[in-house]
């Protein structure tokens, strides 16, 4: 743990000021990413960023004490925490909007979605989580193997080989079951 963070947790004012100077940008950027852009949004992002700082110091820095320097950088951790606070903020805002408007009458719960071909449920182990993710990012989000590799923290070559294996498994499966 670095000197600033350590002294922050001891309640030293100078350390807290240094912490704010160092990470206010990270927190504000993460919050702004969730809230979107615009003049009104900037003010809102300032409030939410303040909320992040409040949560960090509340109850004798209880949240900040949960950060584990052995597992990640403080920047990454703060980005996740800030994003989470911003999403909470958006949820509360939506709830307030619903309560202020005339709430629509309660409707019947939606019908459970049934697959288009009811007999064709896939075995869960057909593709691994990583294979599913790779195909999802390539075909649903139109990302190239380099970008997928950056998202998953693996090389582009690993992405290509994962994709190849995944498609091979699907092909074999559908050859047995009949063409899609």
């Amino acid at each position: 743990m670095d000197d600033v963070l350590e002294n922050c947790l001891r309640g030293r004012k100078w350390a807290w000021d240094a912490f704010v100077d160092r990470y206010a940008g990270v927190i504000f950027a993460a919050v702004g990413r969730v809230l979107g852009r615009g003049r009104d949004r900037t003010e809102e992002a300032e409030d939410v960023a303040q909320d992040v700082f409040v949560r960090l110091v509340r109850n004798d820095f209880a949240l900040l004490r949960r950060y584990d320097p052995d597992r990640s950088s403080i920047t990454t951790w703060l980005t996740i925490v800030s994003r989470s606070v911003a999403i909470d903020h958006l949820r509360r805002r939506r709830l307030q909007a619903v309560s202020l408007d005339d709430a629509p009458p309660t409707t019947a719960p939606p019908e459970p979605q049934t697959p288009s071909t009811p007999t064709a449920e896939h075995p869960m182990e057909l593709l691994t989580a990583r294979q599913k993710l790779v195909l999802q990012l390539i075909y649903d989000r139109d990302m190239d193997p380099e970008a997928v590799g950056r998202v998953l923290g693996i090389s582009a070559q690993t992405v290509r080989s994962t994709k190849h294996k995944a498609l091979q498994r699907l092909r074999e499966y559908y050859e047995k079951e009949g063409p899609p």
Partner: protein
């Protein structure tokens, strides 16, 4: 991979995605664990667990994608108001020099002695005053009682009982 092969791959994926059943979410991924994954420090088991969740949870996948997008650009500085407000959350502790603390300690000790002496004096004076008042009051009451008794005796001596005298000497009417 050729364009034709890629189109076939896309068709296979879409078919699979349309027919696959979603997995229940499971417990929330803790910020420390997700941060470890993003920094490439999570163990293989945790990586598998997080990626399985990402494959089923669009919100988590979006969080990871957003984080990577943020990484691609340098972080712009926050507006000055953000830092000013945040800094005000922690107030400086009052720093008192050691010499002042030591001097204050000596004075405090003296003050304690003075206070103790004052308490003793006040208690003594109060006790004397209260006790004196009580003594005087009692003395006065006793004197009054004694005076009353003396007065009554004197009255008895100085004032003869007429009724008794009358019976002994006989009334003037009886003599006549």
């Amino acid at each position: 991979m050729s364009e034709r092969e890629d189109k076939l791959g896309c068709r296979l994926w879409r078919e699979y995605a349309a027919r696959r059943t979603s997995v229940p979410g499971g417990p929330e991924i803790a910020p420390n664990l997700l941060a470890a994954y993003l920094d490439g420090k999570a163990d293989p088991e945790a990586v598998e667990r997080i990626e399985a969740r990402m494959a089923e949870d669009p919100d988590l996948l979006e969080a990871v994608l957003e984080f990577r997008r943020l990484q691609d650009f340098p972080t712009p500085p926050a507006p000055p108001a953000v830092a000013i407000r945040a800094k005000s959350l922690v107030v400086p502790a009052v720093q008192v020099p050691h010499a002042v603390v030591a001097a204050a300690g000596r004075w405090w000790q003296k003050l304690q002695w003075a206070a103790a002496a004052a308490v003793i004096i006040v208690a003594g004076l109060g006790g004397y005053s209260f006790g004196g008042d009580t003594f005087l009051a009692r003395q006065t009451a006793e004197q009054r009682a004694a005076a009353q008794v003396t007065g009554e005796i004197e009255d008895l001596i100085s004032e003869p009982d007429l009724s008794v005298t009358g019976q002994a000497n006989g009334s003037p009417e009886g003599q006549s």
